[in-house]
């Protein structure tokens, strides 16, 4: 894999000196005549959480699919861990908006899937799967099929499946958009707790402003047609972030800031205000 990447590896040590895990330059994507986004530049540092917020249909999922190597890009380049991404690479895992669980596999089977594809041995799978099932709070549900558990639990399973391959980069596509508000809140704080235990670089896509601010070290706002990055907001809230964070004046100020950036185009109906929290 290194041999493929070596000819023109970009400077993986960013200006800040921190390792850059994800580097995106001049990215553009079209579906036929529809230009989804253009000139996207991103640098995501080691163990940084970058939130991406934008209205429905602005191309958030498309961007993640490009970065995961699932679909080709029309312009620009993507580098993850120093490797030029043209197809899915090891060390990166995605959590899907609609969970993407296989209905014919149990929770155990679904969590084991990524490991199996990565060629892990039986012993390795037997050791790691229960660990990650416990980490996301699904102990006791190993043998349940997806239809037997709630949406929140299904996404816990999707999260465990991604975590189980121990990726250095996690791509989260509106992971909590399909669960009810209460469960969503629980899952947000659990994800933060898991991240504290085992920090990874994370691209966290959401259309909830509050969620973007709560999770991210930075928030980028996508807007326009075709969309591009309208603004990058640094979230200088301390970690670990907890329920207390939500009550801090600084949190409210940042939320308002992101809100006004998004609102400068009159599309207020497309955003949730406090829906997620």
């Amino acid at each position: 894999m290194d041999a493929i990447a070596s000819p023109s590896v970009p400077d993986v040590k960013g200006a800040s000196g921190a390792g850059v895990r994800i580097r995106v330059r001049g990215l553009a994507k079209r579906y036929g005549a529809l230009e989804v986004f253009r000139s996207i530049d991103l640098d995501v540092g080691d163990c940084e959480i970058l939130s991406i917020v934008g209205p429905s249909g602005c191309g958030k999922t498309t961007l993640l699919r490009c970065i995961d190597g699932l679909i080709p890009v029309d312009e620009g380049e993507i580098w993850v861990n120093g490797t030029r991404v043209t197809q899915p690479i090891a060390g990166m895992a995605m959590v899907f908006q609609h969970f993407g669980l296989f209905p014919w596999k149990t929770v155990y089977g679904n969590v084991a899937y990524g490991l199996k594809m990565a060629g892990a041995s039986k012993a390795e799978i037997a050791e790691r799967v229960p660990h990650f099932i416990a980490m996301v709070g699904l102990k006791g549900f190993e043998n349940a099929y997806p239809y037997q558990i709630s949406g929140g639990m299904q996404q816990r399973c999707g999260l465990a499946r991604a975590l189980a391959v121990e990726p250095s980069v996690l791509l989260m596509d509106e992971p909590f958009a399909a669960v009810d508000a209460q469960t969503r809140e629980i899952l947000q704080f659990e994800l933060l707790r898991i991240w504290e235990q085992r920090p990874t670089t994370m691209l966290f896509v959401t259309h909830s402003i509050e969620e973007a601010v709560l999770m991210g070290d930075r928030v980028i706002v996508l807007k326009g047609r075709p969309s591009s990055i309208a603004e990058t907001i640094v979230v200088d809230l301390p970690r670990p972030r907890t329920r207390e964070t939500l009550r801090e004046p600084r949190f409210a100020a940042l939320r308002e800031h992101v809100w006004s950036t998004l609102l400068s185009e009159a599309r207020r109906a497309e955003f949730e205000v406090g829906g997620g929290l």
């Binding site: 594809m117 549900f141 469960t183 629980i186």
Partner: protein, 275 residues
């Protein structure tokens, strides 16, 4: 930790037994009554209008004990069902592979679709003379007829199922770097299993018809030939025991497939399970 949304988990088996018990008693009685009615009308009309050698339920029933121990009948049954099982096996393996390829490869689909649909529509009875020319009046002709009769319903169903696999599943597989072939057998195949089982159900019926038709035409023995021979020698009761066995086989396949669905596909159609 998970307690809050654990409580949202759907009850897994609580209401199932009650619903099934209701289903069995609710279906069983009408089923029995319908059967009795058919038998009575049959018995009465034969007694009233037809000669004594014409089969009627009472005499068929009496013929069962001596027919089922008849060595010729047993050999014929084993012969036919063995051929059906063998032919179905061949049809399932080849049909599934071809169906998967057609369902997942637009090129293969464009190349083969019309041929498959064309052959599917051609009645096996018009293919039989050709097959008997190629294979002679042997059991190979019967086997070929069975495979021909069965394979296209498998191909058509499996390819429909393979086409209908949600794109998201394929994307998850790709994201976790599954090789293409593993995706085909570990994602497409299980996702298409319900279609596959529907195909087997159709194929089993058609395979049986294929076997019997081949035996009628080529006189190579077997259950179909047994029935034909008994009819021609005016032993209609014995013939009907054979017919009843064929019918039982049809029902048996249905029950077996339904059982397989419950046993191996608990995730499939969990709301509409009834025998």
């Amino acid at each position: 930790m998970a307690s809050l949304d654990a409580s949202l988990a759907k009850p897994i088996a609580k209401e199932a037994p009650r619903r099934r018990a209701l289903g069995v008693s609710g279906v069983f009685l009408p089923r029995l009554l319908a059967g009795l009615a058919i038998v009575l009308v049959w018995e009465a009309s034969v007694r009233a209008f037809l000669p004594a050698y014409v089969a009627k339920p009472s005499t068929v029933l009496l013929a069962i004990p001596k027919t089922v121990v008849d060595a010729a009948f047993l050999a014929a049954t084993a012969d036919t069902l063995g051929a059906v099982a063998q032919g179905l096996g061949i049809a399932v393996v080849i049909g599934t592979l071809v169906g998967l390829v057609i369902g997942r490869s637009p090129t293969a689909d464009r190349m083969l679709r019309h041929y498959v649909n064309g052959f599917y529509a051609v009645p096996m009875i018009v293919i039989l003379p050709l097959l008997s020319l190629w294979f002679g009046y042997t059991s190979a002709t019967r086997l070929a007829t069975i495979v021909y009769a069965a394979i296209f319903s498998i191909v058509v169903n499996v390819s429909d199922g393979a086409r209908a696999v949600p794109r998201e599943y394929m994307e998850v597989a790709r994201s976790f770097r599954a090789q293409r072939l593993r995706g085909l057998f570990e994602i497409v195949l299980p996702a298409a299993t319900p279609y596959f089982l529907a195909g087997i159900r159709l194929a089993a019926g058609r395979a049986l018809i294929g076997a019997v038709v081949a035996e009628f035409f080529t006189a190579i023995g077997g259950l179909g030939y047994f029935i034909l021979f008994m009819s021609r020698t005016f032993r209609h009761d014995e013939a009907f025991v054979g017919v009843a066995l064929l019918a039982a086989f049809g029902v048996g396949v249905d029950v077996f497939v339904a059982w397989c669905t419950r046993r191996f596909l608990p995730w499939y159609r969990r709301d509409e399970r009834s025998a």
